[in-house]
Amino acid sequence: MNQLEKEQYLREYAQLKAQGKPFFPYAIAKDSAMAVITLAVIIIMSIVLGAELGPKADPTTTTYVPRPEWYFFFLFEVLRIIKPPEYVPMATIGVPTLCMILLFLLPFYDRGAERRPERRPIATTAGILTIFAMAYLTFLGANAGSPNEIDMAPPSDLKGAALTEWNEGRLVVAQSGCLACHQIGENGNHGPGPRLTDIARNLPAAAIAETLRNPTAPMPSFERLAQEEPEKFDAMVAFLGSLK
């Protein structure tokens, strides 16, 4: 906006304002009605949906899938879409930071005088696309597969104690919510973590154990499980080590 457009806007606005009505009681009345509606919605949601409390936090067993509040789903889905590990930092912080900076600086790069949405095709299209992208990502996040079950047959050459340990490991992996981010065969989600279907082909069991202890972020560490319940941890390593 140049100086002329600025002055034109201020003059036009002063006239509109002069023709308007005082804030009290007219705008206040609408605002109060909206406040009552807001409070009513909150109260109804509280009564209908309640406030469930899950099982107590237990650092040794991760029987719960790490899942954020629904309005963070779209951020979480960005992680899933951008998968190669070298790009993960870009997905986790790069993209959100960039969006944040673009949002902060909006009035400084969109300096046109026009305000009507239908006469600002670029801004309006960008806005609508952003809304659709966020809605779609939230939808994807809400529909991510149930990650607490692994349905697969044990390798045929496993017998006796090894088979028991394999089954135990399958259970621990399923309960640990690994499938929230990893895929094992037909189970689990497509990222953000790498596919584990044939992880043992590239990594020996010792390396898998090391990765479980010292993972790359954002994966949680299983160090505590290894210390407090080593047999569970070993079963987990045995199961993952069998995936070829």
Binding site: Q19, S46, L53, M100
Partner: protein
């Protein structure tokens, strides 16, 4: 004679106080009139020492352009949702204990035993969802109506800061119930922070109060959630509101002033 005069807004004629008819009530004032007089004296006493009435009048009787519709209530609704969060949060804080060993039990006490505990916790939990939705709707209105343009650029920047702080509230509040979901989602969330460029690892260490999720992490989240961020939000809402009052509520973008009426000096 008090200096302070109860302002008479432009309400319909039927609601406006009628002037006394000459000669009707010449006797001693009625108790209602005496009470009103007393109230005016108190207000007058305060106003003489604070000069608040000018600011109040500036805030309440400023004009709002005609054509403002229900979309223009989203901002105040967001603020109201924040107030609701503050009030329910205060009541939850009366029972909550931010230590890793006691947190879960104290929340369970709120839900199962405290009077209306589950209701208040539900209001706080779902109030956050309502507030986030309202923030986004308010922002969408501002964006599509071009209300962030001159002279309101700074108010947009403050608004984006408020959006980020609201998300920060949600993130730090998610851990507090200390159930499985809270714990593991927060571990992953903090790890995600840690992958960020430059400040990422430091931010993670700050949030965790150390390289590992430890005993003081919970109390740190609690302090951030109920003191640091709400304080910032309240201060920024104040600045946001001041700028709205100073610059005026925007008119819908398609509206044009009807006639080129000549403006009086005092109307501009």
């Amino acid at each position: 004679m008090p200096r302070f005069r109860i302002p008479t807004p432009t309400v319909p004629a039927a609601l406006q106080p009628k002037p006394k008819r000459p000669g009707s009530a010449q006797g001693p004032a009625t108790p209602a009139e005496q009470a009103a007089e007393g109230g005016i004296h108190v207000v007058d006493w305060i106003d003489e020492r604070t000069s608040l009435s000018g600011g109040l009048r500036w805030m309440m009787f400023r004009k709002v352009p005609k054509g403002t519709n229900w979309f223009y209530t989203l901002g105040s609704a967001t603020m109201f949702a924040f107030l609701s969060q503050a009030v329910t949060g205060i009541f939850l804080a009366m029972y909550y204990d931010p230590s890793p060993t006691r947190a879960y039990e104290s929340v369970r006490y709120i839900v199962n035993d405290a009077f209306l505990g589950e209701f208040v916790r539900g209001m706080h939990r779902w109030g956050s969802t309502v507030m986030v939705i309202l923030v986004f709707l308010h922002m969408a209105r501002t964006f599509f109506f071009g209300a962030y343009k001159y002279p309101r650029e700074l108010n947009w920047v403050i608004g984006v800061a408020l959006l980020i702080l609201t998300m920060a509230m949600s993130f730090t509040g998610y851990l507090l119930p200390f159930d499985q979901r809270a714990y593991w989602a927060t571990i992953v969330g903090v790890n995600i922070n840690g992958t960020g460029p430059l400040v990422g690892p430091y931010l993670s260490d700050f949030l965790r109060a150390g390289p590992e999720f430890g005993a003081t992490t919970l109390s740190r989240f609690y302090a951030i959630h109920m003191m640091l961020v709400p304080g910032l939000i309240a201060a920024l809402i104040g600045a946001h509101l001041y700028l709205v009052a100073k610059l005026g509520t925007t008119a819908p973008p398609w509206l044009r002033a009807k006639t080129e009426t000549k403006l009086d000096e005092d109307e501009v």
